[in-house]
């Protein structure tokens, strides 16, 4: 598998090099510390999630895959072209919500490609790529549940992911509207869904996109779970990188803008979400258009 992906990326990199040769930006690492270290290691390190399908996950063949990963590959191609290193190796480091910031900040990872919400307070620690996915907090419930909004779960037990933005928003709503919802803390998406399926909780508040994918692919029996409610939060996903490297940040912005414009990003969206019956939402389409800055 290592060999195959190596050749895939080499060939992809070659095409990227040809495509970008016409635009001919400054070649070489310049004064970018990240590009310098990539060139020195002859490898770019991508941080990925292990089970956040279809964004960033390890598939059955133990290959790192997903929508976020495919978009990051656009950046990898741009780095290869920039450094004129078509055989640049791509290394993968699995990350989780606990270690991702430290690994990006200390330089272990050059680019984090997962499901990280881009927030201003996080920008104090890391730099973010343009926004490539938009979601918000919604609620996963059993199909036979009559609740239409989170308010209908008044006084019930609702699961949230530990330390998620969903949890913070639900706790605030709970306090301001005096809903008396009892929060139950789940470790990951699968566990949160299991809490709903086993009846321990009545709902599971998480990123709408992710629970929709879960309901579409993993509900047992099929159709047993559904996603309800308006978007309680605004959660834009971005890739993370080390802060303070303007050159590298510009390269990433350029790669994403190209993908948004071409419209390679929309094709990737269709590739990963189409099979799940999820169509691209107008907000995301608009975000692509707005972020597709001209050259």
């Amino acid at each position: 598998m290592q060999g195959r992906s190596f050749w895939c990326y080499s060939i992809a990199g070659l095409w990227g090099a040809i495509a970008l040769a016409a635009q001919a930006h400054a070649a070489g690492p310049g004064d970018s510390p990240i590009l310098k270290r990539i060139a020195a290691r002859n490898a770019i390190t991508i941080g990925h999630r292990e089970a956040s399908a279809p964004y960033s996950f390890i598939d059955r063949d133990q290959k790192v895959e997903g929508y976020s990963i495919d978009l990051c590959m656009k950046v990898v191609e741009a780095v290869k072209a920039r450094l004129e290193m078509p055989s640049l190796e791509v290394k993968y480091v699995p990350i989780n919500t606990t270690n991702r910031i430290a690994l990006v900040a200390n330089g272990t990872i050059d680019l984090e490609c997962g499901t990280t919400t881009n927030t201003l307070s996080r920008q104090e620690q890391v730099e973010f790529s343009p926004i490539f996915y938009i979601t918000g907090t919604q609620v996963l419930v059993k199909t036979d549940n009559a609740a239409k909004e989170v308010e209908d779960l008044k006084g019930k037990r609702v699961a949230v992911l530990q330390g998620s933005s969903n949890e913070q928003s639900l706790r605030m709503l709970n306090d301001t509207e005096k809903l008396g919802i009892e929060l139950v803390y789940a470790k990951d998406l699968g566990e949160g869904a299991l809490l709903v399926t086993s009846g321990r909780v009545d709902g599971f508040a998480a990123d709408g996109g992710q629970i929709k994918v879960y309901a579409a692919t993993k509900a047992q029996p099929k159709g047993a779970l559904k996603v309800v409610g308006r978007l309680l939060t605004y959660d834009p996903y971005s890739a993370m990188m080390q802060r303070g490297d303007l050159e590298f940040t510009l390269l990433v912005k350029r790669a994403f803008a190209d993908a948004f414009r071409s419209p390679e990003a929309e094709k990737l969206y269709a590739k990963w979400f189409g099979p799940l019956g999820i169509e691209i939402e107008p907000e995301l389409k608009t975000a692509f258009a707005i972020q597709a800055l001209p050259q």
């Binding site: 270690n99 037990r157 330390g163």
Partner: protein
């Protein structure tokens, strides 16, 4: 490293409150689990040294079951699997009506796991005494229960105080696994702070130091107990 340090996050609201709540849960889980572990562990340990074969078999089965399965897995079984195996009304009661289900599951899971280890310490403590004492007790007319109550257990307890101290430390540290079933104890709360502020290194440092302080207190306290209950001349002391 481009990490921006900000230690003030640890003393600012609401994060200081989160850490203190976490510390509170750690103490509550570790304390209750330790009481359970001592009660069950000493009982099972004694069972393993009794002349009665059925009692010994039961004790061995208990120890091997709880000692040979990872604690993390045991917590998942208690939390997710057990309610499904029980009759529906009981299972539903555990899932819906039991107050603080995560807390009690953590206490039982951690307590019963540690009990297996305490049982082994107890058995070793009793067996280390040698047969002479038990025979002397029998010869002076004591029943089996009396020989345990007045001779074997008091000596065994002093024998095993140092290894029991280690087990107590393990309970404190293992209580962090309770976060996997949703109990936000010290480690869980520092992860919460990490996610909320992205200042994870500060939060984890605070948690680490708190654990060190907690375990040091346990060590000092149990050392004092060791000195207090020592019988002069009975045991070689360093």
């Amino acid at each position: 490293m481009t990490y921006r340090w900000d230690w003030s996050v640890l003393v600012s609201e609401p994060y200081l409150g989160w850490l203190l709540t976490g510390l509170g849960w750690t103490l509550l889980v570790a304390g209750a689990a330790w009481v359970l572990a001592l009660a069950v562990g000493v009982t099972v340990g004694v069972l393993r040294t009794l002349p009665n074969r059925a009692a010994r078999t039961f004790g061995t089965a208990y120890v091997e079951t709880f000692r040979n399965v990872p604690l993390l897995l045991q917590l998942f079984v208690w939390y997710f699997v057990l309610p499904e195996l029980l009759p529906a009304p009981v299972g539903n009661w555990i899932k819906r009506d039991l107050p603080l289900p995560e807390y009690w599951t953590a206490v039982i899971g951690l307590g019963l796991f540690t009990a297996a280890r305490v049982a082994e310490q107890t058995r070793a403590g009793i067996q280390a005494i040698g047969r002479g004492q038990a025979m002397a007790a029998a010869a002076s007319g004591m029943t089996l229960a009396q020989s345990y109550r007045y001779i074997l257990l008091p000596i065994a307890a002093r024998n095993v105080l140092p290894p029991l101290t280690s087990e107590f430390l393990n309970v404190v540290k293992n209580s962090s696994l309770a976060l996997t079933i949703g109990l936000l104890e010290l480690t869980g709360q520092s992860r919460q702070i990490e996610s909320a502020t992205f200042h994870g290194i500060e939060a984890f440092t605070a948690a680490t130091l708190t654990y060190v302080v907690l375990t040091t207190v346990v060590i000092v306290a149990l050392r004092a107990v060791e000195r207090l209950v020592a019988i002069p001349g009975l045991m070689a002391r360093a």
